[in-house]
Structure formats: C-alpha cells, structure tokens
C-alpha cells in the first residue's frame, strides 16, 4: 500500500512540475530579456542624442543589420544617400558623448553590444566611427519612426504570433 501511495505522490509531483514548467516556459525568454536589458546583466547602452529611433528599439535590436546591409547597397550602387537607415545617421545619434564615437571605447554604442554578443564587426575598419566634425548633431532623427514601415509591421505581426525574446 505504502509503495502505491508513494508512487501516486511522485506522479502527482511530476505532473505539477511539468505543469509549472509549461506555464513558465512562455515567460522564461521574457524574463531573460528583462534581466539582460533592464537589470544590468546586459551591455551598457548609452542614451542616444535623438529622441526617437527610425523604428522601435526592439525591432532595431533584431534587424538593424539587415537595414544597414540593404541601405549600403542602395547607397553604393544607386547613390541613395541620407536615407533613414544609413550608417552615418546611426552614428550621428549614437556617438558617445564621452568619446564622440560608436566604437572606440568598450562602452560605446556598437562595441558594447557586439562584444557582449561576441560578434566581431568590421564596419569601422573602413567607416568612420565618429560623426562629421562640422555637422551639427541632430537632436531628433529627421526621419524618426519612418523607417521601413512594411518590415516593422511584418515584425510586429510575427512577434505577436510568437512571443519571446524581442
């Protein structure tokens, strides 16, 4: 009898643990995201000069590389300059107030995240990591929130269907 009871208890405990895991699993990525981005476990991200980025910060975290890569081809081959997603525009807002750069010190905007994520970027072997000395830095991005609205909409739709780390 005791053995049977023990087995039943163990089974119930296993079911409870499984249920708890299932319930938590949806929140674990969100929890991890919260720990990384809001509670100091992630990279230090210096506040940008502008008030608003060209798209949601969460979207930019995931997709900035695609925007930049798309824009670089448009700029080099088609001559489309001063587009919202241009590297120059990014650097204009995100250059550190201390070093004036996005990639000189370890706390600078680009390097801070990429060293945290263990990704080597070679953008700044060729590109200047500081904004043009003469250019006045924009207080607000001239095309804030305007960028690739189609992509942003698609991303919102996808992330609504499958919530997780953003």
């Amino acid at each position: 009898m005791r053995q049977v009871r023990r087995r039943a208890v163990a089974r119930r405990a296993a079911v409870a643990i499984a249920l708890a895991c299932a319930a938590l699993s949806g929140h674990v990525p969100a929890l991890a995201n919260d720990l990384v981005m809001n509670r100091g476990l992630g990279p230090t991200i210096e506040r940008a000069r502008g008030e608003k980025c060209v798209a949601d910060p969460a979207f930019m975290r995931r997709n900035h590389m695609d925007l930049l890569k798309h824009q670089r081809d448009e700029t080099v081959h088609l001559g489309v300059r001063d587009a919202p997603a241009s590297l120059k525009a990014c650097i204009g807002c995100h250059a550190s107030t201390a070093t004036g750069s996005v990639a000189v010190a370890k706390t600078d905007f680009c390097v801070s995240c990429h060293s945290y994520a263990a990704i080597t970027i070679d953008c700044f072997e060729c590109h200047a990591s500081k904004p043009q000395a003469s250019a006045s830095l924009p207080l607000n991005h001239p095309q804030a929130g305007t960028v690739p609205s189609k992509q942003v909409a698609q991303w919102r739709q996808n992330s609504a269907q499958a919530p997780g780390i953003r």
Binding site: D66, V80, C126, H127, A128, S159
Partner: protein, 256 residues
Amino acid sequence: MNPGRDSGARMALSGRRAFLGLAASAVGGVLLAPGIHLVEIAQAAVPGAATTGANPKVRWGLLIDTKKCATGCTDCVDACNSENGLSGLTGPTDAQWIRKVEIKEFGTGRTQSLPVMCQHCAEPPCVDVCPTGASFKRTDGIVLVDRHSCIGCRYCVMACPYKARSFVHEPLTNQKPDVPRGKGCVEGCTLCVHRVDKGQGPACVEACAKAGHQAMLFGDLNDPASAIWIRIREVSTMQLRADLKLDPGVRYEGLT
C-alpha cells in the same frame, strides 16, 4: 521571421516588377508613334529613380583644359587628398586618386602638365575583369569600387590603362565619414560621388576654380544645355588612349 528570406523575396518581387514594367512599356512602345523610344518609356515607368540617387539619363564627365593647367600646380591633387582623406604621399604603396603628369616633346622640348585620374570609361576594363562585381559603373557613368565585395585581387589595377586604381596596403584610421576606405581594397577616383549626389561638383574642380585656374569643368555629357557639352562641341578635345575605344568620361582640351 526570417529577414534574409524576406529581403530575398522582396528583391525577386522588385525584379519581377521591373521586368513586367519593361514588358508593359515594350507593348506600349509598339503601339506608340515613331520617335518615342522604348528606353524613355522604361525610364519614365520607374518613378523616383530619377529623383533620388544616380540618374540613368546623366553621364558625368570632366573636361580638362591643359592650356590652363600650370606645371607644378597641385591644387586639384591637394583638394582630392583632403576631401577623401588620402595621405598625399606618393610612395609605391600609397593611394593616389589623381596625379599630375608632366609630358615633354623630345624634339622641341615643349612641356605640358595635366591631371590624370580615373577616366570613368563608358566601357571600363576594370569592370570587365572584376571577379566579384565589386568594380562597377553607376547608371550615371561614375565607375566605383564596392568595397563590401572587393577581395583585393587587383585585377582591375592591372586592367586599367590609366593606372588610376590604387590598393590599400596598410590599416587606416581617421577616415572621412563620407569616404570609407580600408586595408585590402582597391580604390580610385570616385568623381567625389558623395558630393555629386548632393548636387555639388568634385573637390578637384572646385579647388581649381577657387584658385582661379578654371582648367577643369564638370558636368553632364548627355545634356546639350550643360557647359561641358557646349564646350566639347565648340573646341577639339581628346580622350586619353582613344585607340582603346573605352570612351572615357574625362576629356582633355589643348593636349597635342
């Protein structure tokens, strides 16, 4: 979401759209009156193409008056160096986008001085030989290197009859925000493409005019109203190594 696949699909879509647009205009071209060319319709069918970025109707070019180009004057070279962040050194491993060439006639001893840079050929051999497509000609005739796909093989350096391309041998720092440059890539005169896209002329032309020499003229070789087009119609000009039939966009006046 898969951004790579998404952008690939978008590119394929835009390719299909471009093809359909062209096909539609081809049908339209058949129906339209003679004198209206298919090409014009195709260009008109792409809204925005002419307003931002390189305009396919334009062909940028230079006219250099060697009679006004003084021996020993390096205003254009200095302007190029400071605009594009070049060192200005002339060693075998230093990049030179424009250089002054002094030529002397053996019989009479007559000397002439002229700047030589990328000639922005209509049929650029550097583009023909490039294995990665990094060397390319923009729709407005400016020949460029896409450093993102340049592998530094230097075939273009060998192919260019004007010795207009340089290779960057050493790591660089303090590049200009408008002119990214880096080790391992080939580079050459861009006709100051970052300025041209803003509606300005190349730095060398501006410096030459500012110093009062007026030996360089920049403009659209396709526009009958442009100063360069009018001048080329009026006076005899020549292309360097015209025998190669590369149709350079840089022309020289007074060079004999």
